[in-house]
């Protein structure tokens, strides 16, 4: 990122957050925006694994669920504040991600997909079956929105929808910034080198396994934080939100948006959440439409939306 872009980001995001919190937007739009953020944050995590390290993880929803249940159990059963539980949600998911990565990363593509799918299914079963801890399929209700606080003489509140939507956008921006910094760092360059040619990277002295495990742990931790945001938004953590289809949805979001591009998860999440909402009238046909759109995209524009946009801009720049 150029220095100008960093500056623009640092100015634009607080302005956007402040604008949203002013409450001028229709509540439904805010709701969709916040919901898109709850998909965008885990997708940003998945993009690090899938887009940059080339690891197709089909069980990503499990990490989101780990974060959501960590917040839910700590806040509802043990009276923790959201701010205390949020880092722990990220840590729990990150440790699980690192552990899963450490044991599965030596598997080749298809095996790796199946292993991560199995991991997601196991975690979903635990959320559903371990009723003493998770309340079972009915879910853990009554999860509070983040508590307000005063900082530098300014009051911050998050319970109302406009405030929470602003918080969700801010949280997404933070996750985006983390992933951008990471990708532009030596670590990011190492991941890309591994994706492009693992053998060559290893020959050049890159610790391939450590790099991948770290990418997995970071991606999972971001997903866990996203899960906490999602649980606080919906005010319930239920297994239905973390079933294996949701994990596949996250892969679709990253791919449709554009894997391996920083803006990909954001575009993908907006499209994934907003398009079905927009097409709501079509009932079951909307899912058919979404599936067809996905297949067509794979067929004709596999680089995703971010790729298409980049191409359009480049062409326009060339014409000018």
């Amino acid at each position: 990122m150029s220095r100008m872009a960093v500056l623009a980001f640092c100015l634009a995001v607080p302005a956007l957050v402040w604008g949203i919190a002013q409450g001028g937007l229709p509540p439904y739009l805010l709701h969709i925006l916040a919901l898109a953020c709850t998909y965008a944050i885990p997708a940003i995590g998945l993009n690090i694994m899938l887009g940059y390290a080339g690891l197709v993880c089909l069980g990503h929803a499990a990490f989101v669920g780990l974060g959501a249940y960590t917040l839910g159990i700590l806040a509802v059963d043990h009276g923790w504040s959201f701010w205390g539980a949020l880092p722990l949600a990220a840590v729990v998911a990150g440790v699980a991600g690192g552990a899963l990565g450490a044991v599965t990363l030596r598997l080749r593509t298809h095996f790796f997909m199946i292993a991560t799918l199995a991991f997601g299914l196991v975690l979903h079963a635990v959320m559903n079956n371990w009723e003493e801890l998770t309340r079972g399929p009915v879910g853990l209700p009554g999860i509070p929105r983040p508590e307000g606080f005063t900082l530098l003489g300014l009051d911050f509140a998050f319970r109302r929808l406009p405030d929470f939507a602003a918080f969700a956008v801010g949280a997404t921006a933070v996750a985006f910034a983390i992933s951008a910094l990471l990708i532009r760092s030596d670590f990011g360059r190492m991941l890309v080198a591994i994706r492009q040619d693992e053998t060559l990277a290893a020959a050049k002295g890159v610790n391939v396994t450590a790099g991948k495990v770290l990418a997995f742990a970071i991606g999972a931790a971001i997903a866990g934080a996203g899960g906490a945001v999602k649980a606080a938004f919906l005010r319930v953590s239920a297994p239905a939100s973390f079933e294996y289809l949701e994990g596949i949805n996250l892969v679709l979001i990253v791919i449709i948006g554009g894997a391996g591009r920083l803006s990909g998860p954001l575009l993908g999440a907006l499209l994934f959440v907003a398009l079905p909402e927009y097409l709501r009238v079509a009932a079951e046909w909307r899912l058919v439409f979404f599936g067809v759109a996905l297949v067509m995209l794979m067929r004709f524009a596999p680089e995703g939306l971010a790729g298409i946009l980049a191409r359009v801009f480049r062409r326009r720049a060339a014409a000018a």
């Binding site: 229709p26 009723e131 399929p137 209700p141 319930v236």
Partner: protein, 388 residues
């Protein structure tokens, strides 16, 4: 993402919403919100729920609509599909209450969706009336805007538990869906049975799983005298046919929709003979309001009435009665009217307690040898074969 594109995107979305918002209550109509499942694994019960709502809407409109403040309003329904997913439920509720601006929302099937939906109803001051979810905790979240017309798991379990204990069917075994309905049912029954009542086996299966041979083997080896099935008609009919085919000498105990002619059509009188089940709506009960409803339902949909349809019919009728009593389409007034209402519905008297829970009667019916049912419980409504 560049700012330019975000702006165009928001503009497109907002334009779409404005178009959709045109359907809101205006002129001579009152648009009520419905949450249900039109797709996904819960779509089958969702259809019965919608039948109930549609029948109630049409009857209200044929009678000239709802009278509100001297005007007669036609009833329209705005239906959203939540697919049993909390996030979909929350979006739908947000859209119903702030875009469509409906005065009241009804329905939902999944107990897992309700905790995500209820706070939005509260924030936007719109009453929400459940007609199917059975999770007992849903009406205990101190949310004044939430109501439920149907009996929850603990109430259903209570009716049957007395009966099971009295007949001494022990030890008992359970086969249950591994979802909110199945696990909640088992839990409700365990709590309702007398302390220390022996439970020989509890088997859970995933929605969509249809092979019960592993459970049957385990039940045979557990020595259970009775098997209770927490699932709906489809897996229920398969479980019973497999239990009977295996020659298991057990008393069968069923749940909501297993005492119906629809269920009989999936099996036969011989295999059902002697089975008992709890039921919120015995379609042939010799109770005039039930028989009248069953007739109207058959005339409209050409099939036997279903409990979910009856509950949902009652839900919409209660909402209409509350709107009438409130004389307004304002959510808070309708809420206050609901809290006070006493409505004689198809499923029974609907009167909400302080938690918003109604207490309709729960029946226990038993299959006779000729494929008809008798009503065993409640005692004051007990009736012979052909009544249930």
């Amino acid at each position: 993402m560049s700012k330019l594109h975000r702006r165009t995107f928001v503009a497109t979305l907002a334009a779409g919403l404005a178009g959709a918002g045109g359907a809101r209550a205006q002129g001579g109509t009152a648009t009520l919100g419905i949450l249900t499942a039109l797709s996904g694994p819960l779509a089958a019960p969702g259809r019965f729920q919608m039948n109930g709502f549609n029948l109630a809407r049409d009857e209200l409109n044929e009678a000239g609509g709802i009278e509100v403040g001297g005007r007669r309003l036609r009833v329209e329904l705005k239906v959203y599909d939540t697919r049993g997913n909390p996030a979909e439920g929350a979006s739908s509720m947000q859209r119903l209450t702030t875009v469509d601006r409906v005065p009241v929302v009804l329905g939902e099937l999944s107990s897992g969706v309700v905790p995500a939906v209820a706070p939005i109803a509260e924030e936007n001051e719109v009453p929400f009336i459940m007609t199917v979810p059975t999770g007992p905790g849903l009406t205990k979240q101190r949310n004044r805007w939430v109501f439920r017309v149907n009996a929850h798991n603990d109430m259903l379990g209570k009716a049957l538990a007395d009966f099971v204990a009295q007949r001494d069917w022990k030890p008992i075994a359970f086969i249950a869906w591994n979802n909110d309905a199945g696990r909640g049912g088992v839990r409700g029954m365990q709590e309702a049975l007398p302390q220390g009542f022996p439970i020989a086996y509890t088997g859970y299966f995933n929605v969509g799983e249809v092979d019960f041979s592993a459970h049957i083997t385990n039940i045979r080896n557990s020595g259970a005298k009775a098997v209770m099935l927490f699932m709906d008609e489809e897996p229920g009919s398969l479980a019973i046919s497999q239990i009977r085919a295996a020659g298991l000498p057990v008393q069968l105990i069923g749940t909501l929709a297993m005492g119906s002619d629809r269920f009989l059509a999936r099996l036969d009188a011989q295999r059902l003979n002697g089975m008992v089940q709890y039921n919120a709506f015995p379609p042939n009960a010799p109770i005039p309001r039930i028989q009248a409803f069953s007739q109207r339902y058959r005339a409209r949909f050409n099939e036997e009435a279903h409990g979910f349809a009856a509950q949902s019919y009652d839900g919409l009728m209660v909402a209409a009665a509350a709107i009438r009593a409130a004389g307004s389409l304002q959510g808070s007034r309708i809420r206050d009217a609901l809290a006070r209402i006493e409505h004689q519905g198809v499923t029974g008297l609907i009167k909400f307690d302080a938690e918003g829970q109604a207490h309709p009667p729960v029946y226990v019916t038993e299959w006779c040898a000729d494929g008809k049912r008798s009503i065993l419980y409640p005692a004051e409504l007990a009736a012979g074969c052909g009544a249930g």
